[in-house]
């Protein structure tokens, strides 16, 4: 995960540019900002197309049990090393005595081994791809949820209270930011995958999916919390905040009823991009054996298994790789589209993966 700590230069814009411009043909009058954003988003054909692709991917992985039960008639972790496949009059070995897994059968065997077998264990690659996608998306979305929730909380506290609260939180985030995230994630992932995690009453078994989810979400918090903090710093000086305070609203009320709604667009954009980012993180960790633990599959572990057979069965590594590529790409493009739609001033420039950048000079 390459992270560019240098904030991008923000082009100076005149005060006139501060007004969200309504898309051509849509009257800004009488419509809420969300409606306008929706309109703007739907005009972005590329983003809509990739949103469609992402939905397709989600449907694809959700259909895993259907495919497993009704087409492939096997589970994701079921081994078929010694089984033979009857295709017409031909008998094919799922794994040859030399340990070569069968290649894609497409519909020749009624959908069994559609993409071939995954390794010498003879598991159905298609079923594993679908279940692995569930895992990958689950880890991506789950950790993005946790990351975002923690980031909002820390960003609000730090940006609103300032003073020593800000110092403690911001410096802690700086420390977290300065760690070589992937290496620490790898070390933690390996250690926790073996021993599990025990904090007070909280107990997580070694092979649990929660381990990669927690490791990933903790390490990605700074990338969202810092920009949010910046925005809260700016927002808390706005007149409507002063007005709320003047009306006697306490800090909690100001933070959650006044400031938080104004962060919504930023949070939505960040959330989308963080899913993509975290999926890549998960794939990397799993590839190196520190993420999702066998026998469960994720796209990262599937690439790792496929890598060993790269010269004879390259598809085994390429297919999950392409799935990751498509998912991350679609999330990134949708995220960009959302940013353009929700925040036409584009104060926050971010590209998942390439770096999440704190806005600079965000005096609104």
């Amino acid at each position: 995960m390459a992270i560019d700590p240098q904030p991008e230069a923000v082009t100076a814009e005149g005060p006139g540019a501060d007004f969200p411009s309504a898309p051509a043909g849509v009257s800004a009058e009488g419509h809420g900002p969300w409606y306008l954003a929706f309109k703007r988003f739907t005009r972005n054909r590329v983003a809509v197309a990739f949103l469609g692709l992402f939905i397709l991917i989600v449907v694809f992985v959700l259909a895993a049990p259907l495919w497993a039960d009704h087409v492939a008639h096997t589970g994701p972790n079921k081994t078929h090393t010694l089984e033979k496949l009857h295709v017409g009059d031909e008998v094919r070995e799922v794994v040859t005595p030399e340990g070569r897994p069968i290649g894609p059968q497409w519909f020749e065997a009624d959908g069994k081994f559609f993409l071939g077998a995954d390794s010498r264990l003879g598991r159905d690659e298609m079923v594993r791809l679908m279940y692995g996608g569930r895992t990958s998306l689950l880890v991506g979305i789950g950790s993005a949820l946790i990351t975002t929730a923690m980031a909002i909380l820390l960003g609000l506290l730090s940006g609103y209270f300032r003073g020593w609260v800000d110092t403690v939180i911001a410096r802690t985030l700086d420390v977290l930011w300065s760690l070589p995230v992937f290496l620490v994630g790898l070390a933690l992932g390996v250690a926790l995958a073996v021993g599990g995690l025990k904090i007070g009453p909280l107990e997580i078994a070694g092979g649990s999916l929660w381990i990669p989810v927690i490791v990933i979400s903790v390490f990605t918090v700074p990338y969202i919390a810092r920009p949010i903090r910046g925005e809260v710093l700016a927002l808390s000086e706005k007149e409507f905040v002063e007005a709320a305070i003047a009306q006697g609203a306490g800090p909690l009320r100001v933070m959650f009823s006044e400031i938080l709604p104004n962060l919504a667009s930023t949070v939505i954009v960040f959330f989308t991009l963080t899913i993509a980012n975290n999926m890549l993180f998960e794939a990397g960790l799993s590839f190196l054996g520190a993420g999702v633990q066998p026998p469960n599959s994720s796209w990262g572990t599937m690439i790792s298994i496929g890598e060993e057979l790269l010269t004879t069965q390259p598809l085994l590594a390429i297919i999950p790789g392409v799935m990751i590529l498509l998912t991350v790409l679609s999330l990134n493009i949708v995220g960009d589209g959302l940013r353009d739609a929700l925040d036409p001033r584009s104060k926050i420039r971010l590209e998942a993966h390439a770096g999440m950048v704190e806005p600079k000079g965000s005096s609104v």
Partner: protein, 556 residues
């Protein structure tokens, strides 16, 4: 990412304290080149340009405990006794090395007396003295070598290991006559094998008592290591004192055909295979990666590639002290469920299925299979046994395909009706983790064992005797402790191996398999892969020392 099986296996097992592993070898045709190591049809001389996938654990005869190290130094450091330069069963015969003849055993099997051959010299010209023998053994013990427990049976050696001071009273020498005598605590049937290990090979008195991997001490063999760069490679040249002195003193020991060798460490086995195919290198010590194995075998078998069997057993252990595996019925059921034929495929054909403790090639091996594969029978037996606890944790390491073997095994247990959890531990510390009795949930898991020397005791004593159950660095993963069988192992261990003892070991194999502390599934095969410039026929693959450097020869 791909590492070598043997490396990790060997390092892992070497962590076991008492009597650990190594070795491989043994082959079906034992008579091919005989023990002379003389040249075949090829030409004399030449420098062998070879590659290893990793630098040996140590380039010091006292410390090395891996296949790589033993192959690398086998023709540099000759012990008092040595293995016949031959393959298979013939290669398991212990012969005199630096000693004139086999030891005279007296004092009820407790005293071994040998005489050094006169006129021997190290590669730096220093004459070999009888007193170098106790010095070398003391040096090895003082360095806490993984091999030192083999020699604790010498009177006073274990005490020396604690104090590291004074002498070992059980070793007496006379520099004038070259006499060396060892007195043991009790009779031993394996001591000649242990004297033939490189741990006991003499080095000059005064060799620093530290790891000399970067500057290997002078040896007595036909080749000497002229340069060693840990992590990168090393070089051999002929021992300048071999032709003049040692070869005359040891006329039966092969002199070697090539003039020297240069070894380069290439960590990527894929590129090693390419380099051999293109003739950039002449020999790769490690097997080709699983993905290329079949291709290489199909293309080059017979001309440049040869499958070599090893004396090893791959198995799943079951902890006999805890439910559900404290019930022999459950363990037998698992034996019915595990199918060696499936595991042969998981290992890409690089194991041969067996279902017993002793592997082929080991004296005492007699083929049997008490548990022909039947999942139906396994399920039925498990139902009958009706264990109180069905939640188990299955352990394996990250080394492919051991991890896949573990996944397969977990699937089998799940199918039988267990609730399983799989733990895959990094291969570098797998054996440390499962050898520690405080590790929770040690129910069942994967392991393997390669012989240290071709003696069946090396499979029973360290792996199945109750005496070998230790709180840490445990080697008896099944924790099986049968007093009657413990005694049988101990008694047999004191006797010299003969036909009677071999059949006793074979019976012991069966008795243990009836108790089913393990579900064994195969014995490993390795391979020799050389370029077209090398005469494959002439290479001798010994069960303990693998490819002998003296047997390499360039084609005309």
């Amino acid at each position: 990412m791909k590492k070598l099986y043997l490396i990790a296996t060997v390092i892992g097992l070497a962590a076991l304290s008492s009597v650990a592993l190594v070795a491989c070898g043994g082959s079906d045709n034992s008579s091919s080149s005989g023990s002379s190591g003389n040249s075949g049809d090829g030409k004399e001389g030449g420098i062998l340009n070879a590659t290893y996938a990793s630098f040996p654990d140590y380039m010091d005869p006292a410390l090395s405990y891996t296949a790589e190290g033993w192959t690398a130094m086998g023709e540099v450091y000759i012990p008092l006794l040595t293995y016949k330069h031959a393959e298979g069963a013939e290669g398991s015969i212990v012969e005199p090395g630096l000693a004139k003849e086999m030891p005279k055993i007296s004092n009820g099997g407790k005293t071994y007396t040998l005489f050094l051959r006169p006129g021997l010299k190290y590669s730096d010209g220093t004459p070999v003295k009888a007193s170098d023998v106790p010095y070398s053994i003391k040096r090895m013990i003082a360095l806490s070598s993984g091999g030192s427990p083999f020699y604790y049976k010498i009177v006073g050696a274990e005490k020396y290991a604690e104090t590291k001071k004074g002498d070992i009273p059980g070793i007496k020498t006379n520099d004038k006559t070259g006499e060396v005598s060892f007195t043991l605590e009790k009779p031993s049937g394996t001591f000649t094998n242990e004297l033939a290990l490189m741990f006991a090979a003499p080095v000059p008195t005064g060799t620093p008592i530290e790891d000399e991997s970067a500057n290997p001490p002078p040896g007595t063999g036909p080749y000497t290591i002229t340069k060693s760069q840990p992590g990168k490679g090393w070089e051999y040249a002929r021992n300048p004192y071999w032709a003049k002195d040692n070869s005359k003193a040891m006329p039966d020991y092969p002199t070697g055909i090539i003039d020297g060798a240069k070894i380069t460490v290439i960590r990527n086995p894929q590129s090693q295979v390419n380099d051999i195919e293109q003739g950039k290198y002449d020999w790769m010590q490690n097997p080709p990666p699983a993905d290329r194995y079949t291709e290489v075998k199909e293309k080059y078998e017979g001309s440049q590639f040869k499958v070599q069997s090893t004396i090893s057993t791959y198995y799943f252990w079951m902890n006999t002290t805890k439910p559900p595996f404290n019930d022999v019925k459950v363990r037998q059921a698992v034996n019915y469920a595990v199918d060696p034929a499936a595991l042969e495929r998981i290992y890409s054909g690089q194991i041969k299925g067996t279902h017993q403790i002793l592997p082929p090639g080991m004296p005492g091996y007699e083929k049997f299979d008490l548990y022909p594969h039947s999942m139906a029978k396994a399920k039925e037996m498990l139902k009958e046994a009706n264990p109180s606890d069905l939640d188990i944790t299955v352990w394996t390491d990250t080394e492919s395909p051991n991890n896949e073997a573990g996944e397969y095994y977990e699937g089998v247990l799940k199918e039988m009706g267990f609730n399983t959890k799989l733990k895959i531990i990094n291969a570098d510390n797998y054996f440390t983790v499962i050898g520690n009795q405080t590790t929770p949930d040690l129910d069942t898991g994967w392991s393997d064992w390669f012989e240290d020397y071709p003696h069946p005791n090396d499979f029973f004593q360290p792996l199945l005797s109750g005496e070998s159950i230790l709180p840490t660095n445990n080697g008896n993963f099944a924790n099986i402790d049968e007093p009657a069988l413990n005694k049988e192992i101990a008694d047999l261990g004191e006797e010299q191996l003969g036909p009677e003892q071999e059949s006793a070991y074979s019976a012991l194999d069966k008795k243990y398999m009836e108790l089913a502390p393990w579900a064994p599934y195969g014995t490993r095969t390795l391979s020799t892969f050389v370029s077209s410039d090398i005469n494959l026929e002439n290479i001798i693959y010994n069960p303990t020392f693998f490819e002998y450097l003296t047997s390499f020869e360039f084609n005309e």
